[in-house]
């Protein structure tokens, strides 16, 4: 499984430690840190020639069904307690400020529609987004600024962060619950789809979309 070349003498001098040792190393590093850590950072910390990615495969398997799990967050890895044991952790529980409905919805819109502009958030919710809502989500480090949109005015966009993924136990934003269904229903398209109509009305679509959003924005 683990390729070890019929190494030349030189290579054998720098031969990587056996895989079970590498697994131990990854285990030690992951246990030592509370923040998710990238495969690259793992490799940087481990001796020359190690393959943290492979060691992680074994390690993850080893912790299946245990009290703590090896979990992936974005392109990083970390150890988290098994969710079913949360009841034991009353002492560790952090009182999180209750998020307002506006904040929860705004967060969901950023997560499902990212990258998304403030105007788009307002379009979807049908109300203006208060400055405090965005600020709160940024302060929680759940959303951050993304690239500016290449539309007139070059508005800033928002995207979710690795902290967001970590908080909600998501490997990536693609694993958001119900994402596929939303996409399949065409509800994530930035240009809202108008109901399928007669074919000859089709070329008017862009026109009418524009007209409508103007109506709504006014």
């Amino acid at each position: 499984m683990h390729d070890v070349d019929q190494g030349s003498v030189e290579e054998s001098l720098f031969k990587a430690p056996p895989m079970h040792e590498q697994e131990r190393m990854v285990e030690a590093i992951l246990f030592a840190t509370s923040e998710p850590i990238t495969v690259k950072a793992l490799n940087d910390r481990m001796p020359h020639g190690c393959d943290a990615a492979e060691a992680l495969v074994y390690l993850r398997k080893r912790y299946e069904g245990r009290g703590v799990h090896v979990t992936k967050v974005g392109n990083s890895w970390t150890i988290r307690t098994a969710p079913d044991l949360g009841f034991l952790m009353q002492k560790e529980m952090v009182e999180t400020r209750k998020l307002s409905r506006a904040a929860i919805e705004t967060l969901a819109i950023v997560a499902y529609h990212q990258p998304v502009t403030r105007a788009e958030i307002e379009e979807i919710r049908g109300v203006s987004v208060s400055r405090g809502t965005i600020d709160q989500l940024i302060e929680l480090e759940w959303i951050r600024f993304g690239r500016r949109k290449m539309t007139p005015g070059r508005p800033v966009t928002f995207v979710v962060t690795q902290n967001f993924l970590d908080h909600f136990g998501l490997e990536s934003a693609r694993d958001l619950p119900g994402l596929k269904e939303l996409r399949a229903a065409g509800l994530l398209e930035s240009q809202p789809a108008v109901e399928p109509m007669a074919a000859d009305a089709f070329d008017e679509l862009e026109e009418s979309d524009k007209g409508q959003s103007e109506l709504f924005e006014d």
């Binding site: 910390r45 997560a111 979807i124 919710r125 049908g126 119900g178 809202p192 109901e195 026109e207 009418s208």
Partner: protein
């Protein structure tokens, strides 16, 4: 979810049973006209895309009327929506005008239905998201992280040549002064020449050499000295070529210039 959410769902149940009147009481609980429309649409108990926008518009307008009767203050955007829905309602009732430009009433209605469905969908998604296991509530990170230390070790190097050069530098500091040109505070003679050539032709009067020094070079003594020297040298050059006359009435007195009249 949040408390607002739970009262919100309650109000929906009420909406179902008591219709519009029950909702009037809860007007503060709505986040904008779209939210209100979404709540009203529940009473139709159909798929949002199959909703009757006409009925919905009527419900909304009735709601606004009721609110007005009860003298409930409504934010402007609710009234804007009411006006738009009244317009849409009339368009939906009238036979469609084929020559009419822009989106048809049906397209507008479909878009409104889409918006409602999209808002509902994101709310469902938000609820699913918040129902997930969360860090600090359901699962936890390492409580006692260990320090990862970066030990920086710096190796300083120096060669024997560095050492000897360093020593000779110290011992010969008085002999050698590295010369660097202070360009910022130097007014070159070329610059002064060009300036004087252009200016002097126009005056037939004796004028003080120092009056040709630009204002920004007069304040700082160092700069003033540099500019004065350059102008003086330039004036000598011009006198040599017969372009100007120079005079000085007494020692250390003013140096005055006059353009030489040609011919």
């Amino acid at each position: 979810m949040t408390e607002t959410q739970s009262t919100f769902t309650e109000s929906l149940d009420l909406a179902d049973s008591f219709k519009v009147e029950a909702l009037v009481v809860d007007v503060d609980g709505f986040e904008g006209p779209l939210d209100l429309l979404l709540s009203l649409s529940r009473s139709q108990k159909v798929d949002l895309l199959k909703i009757s926008v006409l009925d919905l518009a009527q419900q909304y307008l009735a709601f606004i009327e009721k609110a007005k009767e009860l003298r409930i203050e409504m934010a402007a955007d609710y009234l804007v929506m009411a006006a738009w829905l009244a317009f849409l309602k009339s368009r939906l009732l009238l036979p469609s005008d084929v020559t009419d430009e822009g989106p048809s009433a049906e397209e507008l209605a479909a878009h409104l239905a889409f918006q409602l469905e999209r808002l509902q969908a994101i709310r469902n998604a938000a609820a699913q998201l918040m129902a997930r296991d969360q860090k600090g509530r359901n699962f936890f990170g390492r409580g006692f992280p260990e320090k990862y230390e970066l030990v920086r070790q710096i190796n300083y190097t120096a060669t024997l040549l560095d050492l000897m050069q360093g020593y000779s530098r110290v011992r010969t500091r008085d002999e050698f002064r590295p010369y660097t040109m202070d360009r910022q505070n130097v007014f070159t003679m070329e610059e002064a020449l060009e300036k004087l050539r252009n200016l002097i032709g126009f005056t037939g009067e004796w004028t003080d050499l120092s009056s040709y020094i630009p204002r920004e070079w007069r304040l700082d003594p160092k700069r003033r000295r540099a500019a004065t020297a350059a102008h003086f040298a330039a004036s000598l050059e011009l006198a040599k070529t017969g372009f100007v006359e120079i005079r000085q009435q007494d020692p250390f007195g003013r140096i005055e210039l006059k353009g030489k009249t040609l011919g």
